[in-house]
């Protein structure tokens, strides 16, 4: 899956891009995660050639992909959606058809916005528990049994406690999605103070050189560093 708008446009519409060989009777399914505007742009290019277009960004990263547990958030030509549904069912565990092009991208961004804030909040909890003398591994266990348990916490928590961040979803991509989500929120004047605060933490983590680590490395942004007033 392609991670940014530029790559997606290049793959779809570039010199050797998909659009070159496309035409009436054909269809293009884009599973990359892009912003709403980029998705609409690709759609226009495809439509200009007389072909069908379906955006189909996926929710889920490395582990879900390997396990066939991806969720497809599709939008665009309904007939193409119906045509590829059997294929999507093999690749993933569920699929949503969300209407006009751009809605898949928007849904993906909203989900990832929540995810980014949740991970930042979880990081606060792990560090706070440790600082007050609790065992952060026990916190991860307690969380896993209650109303706020989430697969992500159970999957990432144990390694976060050990300051390890094997990359499933790169931190720079999480930060990019937060940025795009904040842009989306701003376009409709929706206040999102939690996401805005979370985004700042991912920015700090990037400035620590953690862009290519897993996004759970955002916890590093909350750790006290030794003074260095260079």
């Amino acid at each position: 899956m392609l991670a940014d708008p530029e790559s997606a446009i290049d793959v779809a519409c570039g010199k050797n891009g998909a659009v070159g060989g496309i035409g009436p009777g054909k269809g293009y399914v884009d599973v990359s995660t892009v912003d709403v505007a980029t998705s609409k742009l690709i759609n226009e290019h495809i439509k200009a050639r007389g072909a069908l277009f379906l955006e189909a960004p996926v929710s889920g990263s490395k582990k879900p992909a390997e396990d066939g547990q991806l969720i497809f958030l599709t939008a665009g030509d309904r007939s193409l959606y119906e045509l590829v549904s059997p294929l999507l069912d093999i690749l993933g565990k569920s699929r949503f058809y969300l209407g006009e092009v751009g809605n898949g991208a928007a849904m993906k961004l909203v989900v990832n916005m929540i995810m980014g804030s949740m991970m930042a909040s979880f990081s606060e909890g792990i560090l706070l528990s440790k600082k007050v003398g609790l065992d952060p591994s026990v916190l991860v266990e307690v969380v896993s049994q209650g109303a706020i348990s989430a697969p992500m916490y159970s999957l990432k928590g144990p390694s976060m406690v050990k300051s390890q961040y094997p990359t499933a979803f790169p931190l720079k991509h999480q930060q990019k999605d937060l940025r795009l989500a904040l842009g989306l929120a701003e376009s409709v004047s929706q206040s999102t103070p939690i996401a805005a605060a979370a985004n700042e933490l991912y920015k700090v983590a990037k400035s620590y050189g953690l862009s290519d680590e897993d996004f759970s490395a955002v916890i590093e942004a909350l750790k006290a560093k030794s003074q260095d007033t260079a």
Copy 2:
């Protein structure tokens, strides 16, 4: 379960409080949620009478209580913990022994801090999805299938979409726990910008008169209100 420090101290140490009838060979198990200092204070009173003390705040509100799904976060006298464990197993689904008095209260606050931030973030997502033309009910469904799915989201999401907040955990208690958690974080100089931003939203919700609604009513704090420059 008692919701604030004053009530807990009164019940335990007040004129007709538990301490009055307590003494050597007896024990006091406190399942209320209080801050660390209050729990230690009650412990001192109990100890002065020669009795045993176990703090045992629970994680889980109305629904888990009815279903016997509470989680006990205990700390204090280990022998008392072992004595009451069979009883705790009937009332709840799991129990943790966390060491010295105060650790149960601290663990509870950390868990509820994460919970408060998660709910605020989820609220942002619901409102943003709606504002950009998506169906927020579909967002709730998508979230429920992925890495960030949490029982709390599935339980509260559908009613939040309908602007309904039947009280399981009062908003004022969530705000109180955030305040106490922020105090705990400050006492150990742990930065918690997400919780701080979330706390501001619960304060806004309280100023809207939503203190006794469910804490999921924090979503109201993020809705645009018509101008009223009184």
Copy 3:
């Protein structure tokens, strides 16, 4: 002064824009406030025609403009800067030459970012003082005498206390500048949590329909509204 990138590009490079009549031996001084990229784009167009370019956004709004108290933040062709300096001295009270094109825009955004946060913080103070039973007018007076006194506070404070916001600098422009500044900060991975939190308040104020009021109307975003769970 033009308030947004699109207007600036249109005026400079549009069908009847300045570029049309420009060429070698001529120069273009742009006093509009745009983002760095837009300023560079206009510069390229001007340069392609063989003319000189100087970006010269101003710090200061209505009142300073009337009083000849504007501050010019210029960048671009130094020879053009020197040529127009006498003119700038008549229009404003001071001028800075900041090097390559884009630096004027960047400096303006940084200044306005601080301004936006300061106004949001001042708003918090006014409302808090009132809520705890102090006279907010006295707060404005106390502030005006100490280390944090600023002309902006003395100018806007008295009307803010009366919930009046005669427009000198529209709120939507302040929010736009915060957005652009946050984008600038993100491009260099600089954490700016205060500006991010302030931006959320201006977004809330916009959602209240206050876009065309003075930016001091951001105080409305911090006032408790009566519940309206429509």
Copy 4:
């Protein structure tokens, strides 16, 4: 001037405290900065001895104190206020009488809350300007000429640019005042997201070991540190 509630209570009411030698016909003027509750407590002790009480926290730190530029924020017994006014006029440049005991403390906290947020915002601006290739000293100069110019910025800016923080007002005291102000805001359900975000930065700075540096050292909390995932 005493910096915290405990010191103030000890000096006033401790074993060798002022209350010991006080009685009818005498008065006690407290120029320390404490929270509202502490000030009221001292007042009660003084009143119980039949003496008069005036709280008189000052706005202004080292430099203003040396220059006789302090501002007294008094509250309590009006007759005592009138009695000591000539003395206050010698020590400071102005004085305010704010009514009942606690109002002086509250006013001081509101002013210092704004101050803390302003310094954090200024820090963001200095670092952002530098990161995008501007000269932060020029930013300090530009700020000093416009609507947001403040004596504090002109005084601290030049040394902040050089990463020097000669202590006039210790960072730990600024953080304490933010904490107390946030507590005050919470007691009246006033949302203060800017102050909450600023407080987190001062907490980070404290965790860097900067408690005794000047509060302008909060800028260090916004600097990227090299990764240290210990």
